[in-house]
C-alpha cells in the first residue's frame, strides 16, 4: 500500500497525465476512444458502488437510478446555459453541472440511505431496486425532460480529461477514506453491524455516508455519460444497468478497489471484443454471478474480503 503522500502525488500525476493525454484524443480511432471513455465511466460507477456494496456491506441494486438523476440534472443545466453568453466556457459550466448532478443524486442517496437503516440484505436490495424503478417512472412522466422519448441535444462536453480526472478523484478519495476512521467504520458495519453498534459506532451515520458518497459519484458518472452520448432516455438507466455495475463489483471482489477497477475495465472491453455473440452477454454475466458466488465469493481478483465470507452460523 502506498503511503498518504505517495497517494497524493499519484493523484496529481493522474490528473496531469489525463490532461496531457486528452490533448491527443483526436488522434485515436473514435471507436477506441469511446471504449476508453466507457471504461472510465464504468470505473467510476463500479468504485462508487463498491463503497456501498463492498465496504459497507449494504446491497444496493439501484445505482443506475442515481446515475440517471445525475445525467438528467447535469444535462438540463448545460442545455439551459449553453445559449447564455459568458457561461459557454465548458471549463466552468461543465464541472458545475456535474457537481450539481452529483449533489441531486446524493440527496436521493440520503433518501435511500434512510430506509437502509431499518432494512437488511434482501429487503434493502429489493427496496433500492424499487427506488431505482420509481426514479425511472418519474423521469418517464416528466415532460420537460423529454419523458419516455428521452433528452436530446446534450452538448458533447465529456472527454478523456474530464472522465479520467473524475476516475482519479474517486479512486483517490475512496482509497484514502478506507484507511481513515471512516473506512474502519464502514468495514465494522459490514463485518458485524450489531457488534459495531455495541462498540459505540454510529452505524446509521456510516450507512448514510456510504450511500451519499456512492450516489454522488454515480450522479457524476451519469453526467459524464450523458455529455458523451448526447442523447439519453430513462430506459438506458434501468435495472439491467444496475445489474451490470453490480456484476463488476462482484467479479472484482466486493471491497477490493483494485479488483473492481480491473473488473470494470475487463467487463467493458469484453462485450466489445465479443460483439459477434452479443446476445450471449447477459447469459454469460448471469452465469458468472452464480459460478463466482458458489466457487469464489471473494471475486476473481485478489484475496480480500475473506472475513465476511467465512462460514457464518445460519
Amino acid at each position: 500500500m502506498m503511503n498518504a503522500s505517495g497517494k497524493k502525488w499519484a493523484f496529481i500525476a493522474a490528473i496531469v497525465l489525463s490532461f496531457v493525454l486528452a490533448q491527443f484524443q483526436g488522434e485515436i480511432n473514435p471507436y477506441f476512444l469511446q471504449i476508453i471513455i466507457y471504461v472510465g465511466i464504468n470505473t467510476i460507477l463500479a468504485s462508487s458502488l463498491n463503497l456501498i456494496n463492498g465496504f459497507t456491506g449494504q446491497f444496493s441494486l439501484g445505482h443506475a437510478g442515481f446515475m440517471s438523476l445525475g445525467a438528467y440534472t447535469a444535462s438540463m443545466i448545460t442545455i439551459t446555459f449553453q445559449a447564455t453568453p459568458g457561461a459557454t466556457s465548458s471549463y466552468v459550466m461543465f464541472p458545475v453541472a456535474l457537481l450539481v448532478g452529483g449533489i441531486v443524486a446524493a440527496v436521493a442517496g440520503v433518501l435511500v440511505g434512510i430506509p437502509s437503516l431499518r432494512l437488511k440484505g434482501d429487503y434493502l436490495a429489493i427496496t433500492t431496486l424499487g427506488l431505482g424503478e420509481i426514479i425511472r417512472v418519474i423521469i418517464q412522466n416528466l415532460d420537460f425532460v423529454g419523458g419516455a422519448r428521452g433528452l436530446v441535444g446534450i452538448p458533447k462536453l465529456s472527454d478523456f480529461f474530464w472522465v479520467f480526472s473524475v476516475v482519479a478523484i474517486v479512486i483517490f478519495m475512496i482509497s484514502n477514506m478506507i484507511h481513515s476512521t471512516y473506512g474502519k467504520g464502514f468495514l465494522a458495519v459490514r463485518d458485524d453491524e450489531v457488534a459495531a453498534q455495541a462498540m459505540g459506532i454510529n452505524t446509521t451515520k456510516y450507512k448514510v455516508i456510504a450511500f451519499v458518497i456512492g450516489a454522488f459519484f454515480a450522479g457524476v458518472a451519469g453526467g459524464l455519460y450523458a455529455h458523451f452520448v448526447s442523447y439519453i432516455t430513462p430506459s438506458q438507466f434501468g435495472f439491467i444497468k444496475s445489474i451490470e455495475i453490480v456484476v463488476m463489483v462482484i467479479v472484482g471482489g466486493m471491497g477490493n478497489t483494485v479488483g473492481v477497477i480491473l473488473a470494470a475495465i475487463v467487463l467493458t472491453i469484453l462485450p466489445e471484443a465479443l460483439r459477434g455473440v452479443a446476445e450471449y452477454r447477459m447469459v454469460l454475466y448471469s452465469l458468472m454471478l452464480v459460478v463466482i458466488m458458489i466457487s469464489r465469493p471473494q471475486g476473481l481478483f485478489g484475496t480480500g474480503f475473506k472475513r465476511f465470507f467465512k462460514k457464518q452460523a445460519a
Binding site: G121, I134, M282, V283, Q312
Partner: protein, 301 residues
C-alpha cells in the same frame, strides 16, 4: 358503479395470480429464510410450457378445452417443479450455510440467467398465448362485460390455494414444513429430513408459479421471456405486504396489490402502475416490516 365492478373483477383475477406466485416466495422464505428472486422467472417458464404444449396436446384429446386446459396446467406444473428443484440443488444448496448476501446474488444471477437464456431459447419477441380457458360471455351489459376467463382464473387459483392449505396444515410433509420454518435445527433433531422438505417446498412453490404462468397467459395472452420480472417483483411485494413466511398473508397481499394496481391503471394513469407497488413496498418496510399478518421476529445476537 359498474365500472367499479369491472375493475374489481380485473383486480381480483390479477391479484389471485399474484397470490399464487407470492405463495412460492413466502414458502421458500419460511423454510430457508431467503428470497428466491428466480421465482418470477419460473412463472415465465410455466407460461412458455403452456405455449409450446397446448398446440401439441390439443389434437390428442380432440381439441376439447376442458381436457386441454387441465393437462397443460399439470404438465407445466411438473416441468416447473423439476426446474425449481434443479435450481435449488445446483445453485442454492451449496450456499446454504454461507452468508445471506451470496445466496441473494446467486438468486439474482439465476433469475437473469432464466430471463436471458429464455430470450435465446424462446426468442425475444412476444408470443400469443393459446386459448386454454373456454371464453364465453356470461354478462353483457353496456357497462359491464364478464367473460368466463377471469371467473375460471379466480376459481383455479382458489382451488390451488385451498389445496396448498390442506397440504400445509393436514399432511405429514406439511407439518414438517411448518416445523422447519419454526426452527430448522430442532426440526432436524426430531428426525425430519431437511433436504426432502426443502425440495418439496420448491416443488410446491414452483408448481404454483407454473399455474400462475398459465393463468396469466390466459388472462393477458401475450408472453415473452421477460414477462416474469414485474409479476415476480409484485408477487414478492405481495408476500412482504402480507407478512413474508405467512401463507394466508401472501394470498391477502396478492389480492391487495392486484386490486390497487388495477385501480391505479383504471383511474389514474397506467404509467404509475409499476411505481405504486414499489411505493407500497417501501411504506410497508418502513412502518410495518413484519407485514399485515406477520409476526415480529427479534434479532438474536
Amino acid at each position: 358503479m359498474s365500472q367499479l365492478l369491472q375493475q374489481i373483477i380485473n383486480g381480483v383475477s390479477l391479484g389471485s395470480i399474484y397470490a399464487l406466485i407470492a405463495l412460492g416466495y413466502t414458502m421458500v422464505y419460511g423454510v430457508l429464510r431467503f428470497i428466491n428472486f428466480a421465482h418470477g422467472d419460473v412463472f415465465m417458464v410455466g407460461a412458455f410450457v403452456g405455449y409450446y404444449a397446448a398446440p401439441r396436446i390439443a389434437p390428442l384429446v380432440g381439441g376439447n378445452l376442458f381436457l386441454v386446459g387441465p393437462i397443460v396446467l399439470l404438465l407445466s406444473m411438473i416441468v416447473c417443479s423439476t426446474l425449481g428443484v434443479t435450481l435449488e440443488k445446483l445453485a442454492y444448496k451449496p450456499l446454504r450455510f454461507r452468508p445471506k448476501i451470496t445466496i441473494l446474488i446467486t438468486a439474482i444471477g439465476i433469475s437473469l440467467f432464466l430471463e436471458f437464456g429464455g430470450q435465446l431459447v424462446f426468442g425475444p419477441d412476444p408470443k400469443s398465448f393459446p386459448t386454454l380457458i373456454p371464453s364465453t360471455t356470461l354478462i353483457d351489459t353496456p357497462n359491464l362485460i364478464l367473460t368466463s376467463t377471469p371467473v375460471i382464473v379466480i376459481a383455479t387459483a382458489v382451488v390451488l390455494m385451498l389445496l396448498l392449505r390442506f397440504i400445509v396444515m393436514r399432511t405429514k410433509i406439511g407439518t414438517a414444513m411448518r416445523a422447519l420454518s419454526f426452527n430448522q435445527q430442532a426440526a432436524s433433531l426430531m428426525g425430519i429430513n431437511i433436504n426432502t422438505v426443502i425440495s418439496f417446498t420448491f416443488i410446491v412453490g414452483s408448481s404454483l408459479a407454473a399455474a400462475g404462468g398459465i393463468l396469466y397467459g390466459s388472462l393477458y395472452p401475450s408472453i415473452n421471456p421477460l414477462m416474469g420480472v414485474f409479476p415476480g417483483l409484485k408477487a414478492f411485494i405481495s408476500a412482504v405486504l402480507g407478512g413474508i413466511g405467512n401463507i394466508p398473508g401472501a394470498a391477502l397481499g396478492g389480492l391487495i396489490i392486484g386490486l390497487l394496481e388495477t385501480f391505479v391503471t383504471g383511474y389514474l394513469s397506467p404509467t404509475f402502475r409499476d411505481a405504486i407497488s414499489f411505493g407500497i413496498l417501501i411504506l410497508i418496510l418502513l412502518f410495518r416490516p413484519s407485514g399485515l399478518l406477520g409476526r415480529y421476529e427479534a434479532e438474536k445476537v
